[in-house]
Amino acid sequence: MNDRLKALYKTQILAHAKNPFNEGVLEDYTHKLQAYNPVCGDQFDLYLKFEGDVIQNTSFRGYGCAISKASTSVLIKQLLGKSKSEAKVLVELFLKLINPESSESPESLTSDEEFLAFASAREFPERLTCANLAWEKLKEVL
């Protein structure tokens, strides 16, 4: 297989796509968001439970390609226990990381392996909407 693409899909992404974090419906959610990509039909429901300013619990359910699923899974995992403002910082970081027009190198932005795995998305602008689907949606409640 092609190395460039393999880099994108490498272990982190495949791992999350195959074994997503907190997949399922969260019964006592405070926020439910639907991340939907009309171009490809990918669709994820995100469930968040806020207590005050803090995201106490998260889950998601839906359907999409490996990249959108993994990126949603990473989001759901990373949000856990974060405050609104912390979550905001995280989302900005992730979007910068995958932005092909970003001038900063991925490694200068973070050392988190889960995040860095998505940096290769920069080379695949057509997959950008897969990688940022859930993250862009989350912005709406932050």
Partner: protein, 403 residues
């Protein structure tokens, strides 16, 4: 067929990281032979002008070629008169215009419109929205287990409430071809007009609208080696004469006063504004090209490649083929267990193999199949069995990478 590939410059010039383009997305759009590109360039560089009213050269040359293009389309679809050939900007444009000018003025609450479960959004949503705006009912002809139109259910839907049947000739997702002649015959027995979405038909078999006896038929130039932004609407002369104009503006009037407009005769009546002249000239060149190869030849090659692909892809474990036994078309859809169509398409693209993944603008069909999408491969004259072999081998690699 392979020798024809050299007539398509994209396969010479285009390399993605050294790899040649293997274009298996022909149901979406087709590559352009040099003769079509030359026809467009030759017009712009050699005799460009507006059509219809100029007394000078190059206006006369442009008008002559525009008129010739209409004649070529007429012959291509076997219409009896050039008056029955209306240029549009594509299939979708043609559907919308027939909905607006033919259906809507007569549609009333309680009326029905028939479409099928395999329609492309372009031949589904316009009819659906028209029905909703008038309180009419959109009825959807279901598919049977083999993913063919359920003809007995269809027969039961034919009532005198039905104002029009809009049906595709070939499913752009499944490659299933409908038996239009008997479908139209049945519909006509109930005085139902039939609109044929022929977007996928022209490279599959020779069209003859008189023999088919459809009331309307449309296709797009870009799917038959022609330019983008051009398409045709065929309509029976009596219908086109009775209908109000598809659009209003320059070129379609006889006389305009502040109170009144007298419309021009066919076909001008239905063509308002400066047409896509370069588009018609390119389409004419595409038709010449098709005729020089032979529609039957093109159709046979595509169908053979589909058959070969069915055989080779069947060897892959966990791969599901849809409408496996559909005949004489060049379109094939499949899914692979546990791997999303987009991931498959992305990996194929890295090998230079262009396929389409998704719903293919056929959401209702996806709902029927209960899937979010398929991978679709569709063949044309520049494709070969070797390319199918490469497709197969790459799919095997993908499977082992993901699973």
């Amino acid at each position: 067929m392979q020798s024809l590939k050299s007539e398509f410059p994209i396969f010479e010039t285009a390399r993605k990281e050294g790899r040649p383009l293997i274009f298996l997305d022909n149901a979406s759009t087709t590559q352009k032979p040099q003769c079509v590109i030359n026809a467009v360039t030759g017009f712009y560089a050699g005799y460009y002008a507006n059509v219809g009213r100029g007394l000078y050269w190059p206006a006369t040359a442009a008008s002559f070629n525009y008129d010739q293009a209409r004649e070529k389309v007429r012959a291509f679809i076997g219409a009896s008169s050039k008056k029955e050939v209306i240029f549009t900007s594509g299939t979708t444009d043609a559907v919308n215009k027939v909905v607006n000018s033919f259906l809507l003025p007569q549609l009333e609450k309680g009326d029905e419109v028939l479409v099928s479960e395999m329609e492309h959004h372009s031949n589904f949503v316009p009819w659906q929205q028209a029905c909703q705006s008038k309180g009419a009912k959109l009825k959807v002809i279901p598919l049977d287990a083999g993913l063919n139109l359920d003809l007995s259910k269809f027969a039961a839907m034919l009532t005198d409430k039905v104002k029009i049947l809009a049906i595709t000739a070939i499913s752009n997702t499944l490659g299933v071809k409908n038996d239009l002649k008997s479908i139209i015959n049945l519909a006509h027995q109930h005085n139902i007009k039939v609109f044929v979405d022929a977007a996928q038909l022209p490279l599959s078999e020779k069209i003859n609208v008189q023999n088919m006896d459809c009331d309307f038929l449309a296709f797009s130039g870009h799917k038959v080696f022609g330019p983008t932004g051009i398409g045709i609407l065929y309509g029976k002369q009596a219908l086109l004469e009775k209908m109000s104009p598809l659009a209003y503006g320059g070129g379609m009037v006889q006389q305009v006063s502040i109170d009144k407009t007298m419309m021009a005769d066919l076909p001008a009546k239905h063509e308002a504004g400066t047409p896509n002249i370069a588009g018609t000239i390119g389409l004419a060149a595409a038709i010449d090209f098709i005729n020089s190869v032979g529609v039957e030849e093109i159709g046979r090659h595509g169908a053979e490649l589909r058959k070969y692909a069915v055989k080779r892809l069947s060897e892959i474990e966990g791969l599901t083929l849809f409408a496996k036994d559909a005949k004489s078309t060049a379109i094939l859809s499949f899914t692979m267990e546990g791997i999303h169509p987009h991931d498959i398409a992305a990996f194929l693209a890295e090998k230079g193999i262009a396929v389409r993944a998704g719903h293919h603008c056929t959401y209702p069909l996806m709902q029927k199949l209960d899937i979010a999408g398929t991978v679709r491969v569709s063949f044309n004259i520049y494709n070969s069995e070797e390319e199918v072999d490469l497709l197969k081998n790459t799919l095997v690699e993908i499977r082992s990478f993901f699973l």
